[in-house]
Subunit: 205 residues, 2 copies
DNA sequence: TAGATTGTTAATCGATTAACAATC
DNA sequence: TAGATTGTTAATCGATTAACAATC
């Protein structure tokens, strides 16, 4: 029980559990156990039970977990039982791919604003989205009360964009630029850098 | 000292160090210390020194680390002091963005093969790359001795593609599909799933 | 009922940090 | 030299795992 003081490493595993459970649900499975889930994920069953126990009791002895119920609880805990509006800064190749990706919507996130600094792109459409000038970033994000943003600009521009986002009130930033962003304590940053993952693998090859 | 038995969590931080040091080098800085690097990364200086000490002695008391020397050593340790040829499976929006991304080349990776299953795409060009039919995956990857691949296909196809890659001898897979891949022990998989990172942030918002 | 599986406790294991002698 | 910083040891801290009573 309790919502405060949960180790971040526990929180970081919940979306993985949610993803696997959603998949199992799509496969038509109704019930699972910590053993089965652990086997799928390469995680011990004890760890899964321990992680979940921080938030409540979601299973039944003898039978395990109702997948639909558990996914509902995980969505609530992770606050993705609602839809978060997300701003995307950068409409280059990567920004385009991100904007076209359908996988955000059904997992709690919807892109509602796209920005770019290139005057040739401003005013054009990126799929269903109009591309706005970054000069309007503060105004639009503030007005629409957007809390989450994705940064898909070149490394050189990433820190400046981040500063603008933070000033506009954004509290969570997903950064695709290969650079460590400096942000105030109240803001959360997560990095997506495929090369970091590749380099981590080549060490073992 | 020693190359075996290094905790994976230590290995996973080396690419982060390398990225930060490369950045500092670009900024014209020649020398740094565990304190300065730690401040940039939000990591304690003790941890950086401890991590590096698994692999050797790279600094000097009183003055710290020569950035050029340390980056060279990290590249060697991570085996990115060479260029790895990488196969890309999936030439959709995401695959296109990945193929166009310039950030792989100077960090140790070069895409040399692109595959797709869509007959309308096979034979066309994706930037400088010809798109091959996945039916030729085994032959081409085996012939060219490629060890690393990126999977950028829909979730439904990801496991089948992975099985083919593994059969063809690939030993490291960077997976962009939102699904947990099953692979033999000798194969390394890393996941890129932006939604997992977003969900990890919304927990705190 | 018998078998299975949970949630939780205590033990183990491993990672991080503080401190400092060595030394540039 | 005096100040700074390393590499390393020992202490602390935290995470994982094994085990089991409870119970479906």
């Amino acid at each position: 029980m309790g919502t405060a003081d949960i180790p971040d490493i526990v929180v970081s595993r919940l979306p993985i559990y949610l993803r696997a459970l959603t998949r199992m649900s799509q496969e038509g499975v109704k019930t699972t156990s910590s053993h089965e889930l652990g086997r799928r994920l390469g995680i011990s069953s004890a760890q899964i039970r321990k992680d979940l126990s921080h938030f409540g009791e979601f299973g039944k002895q003898g039978t395990g977990y109702q997948i639909e119920y558990l996914t509902g609880q995980l969505r609530r805990i992770l606050k993705v039982d609602r839809e978060w509006e997300v701003a995307l800064v950068g409409a280059g190749d990567l920004g385009r791919a991100v904007a076209h990706y359908n996988g955000f919507r059904d997992r709690g996130f919807r892109i509602t604003l796209v920005f770019d600094s290139n005057p040739a792109k401003v005013g054009t459409k990126l799929g269903e989205f109009e591309i706005y000038d970054v000069a309007r970033l503060d105004d639009l994000i503030r007005t629409q009360g957007i809390a989450v943003a994705m940064v898909a600009v070149p490394a050189e521009a990433a820190q400046a964009v981040t500063d603008q986002l933070v000033a506009a009130g954004v509290r969570g930033i997903l950064n695709y630029a290969p650079i460590n962003l400096a942000v105030p304590h109240r803001v959360w940053v997560q990095h997506i850098d495929p090369v970091v993952h590749l380099q981590r693998m080549t060490y073992y090859l």
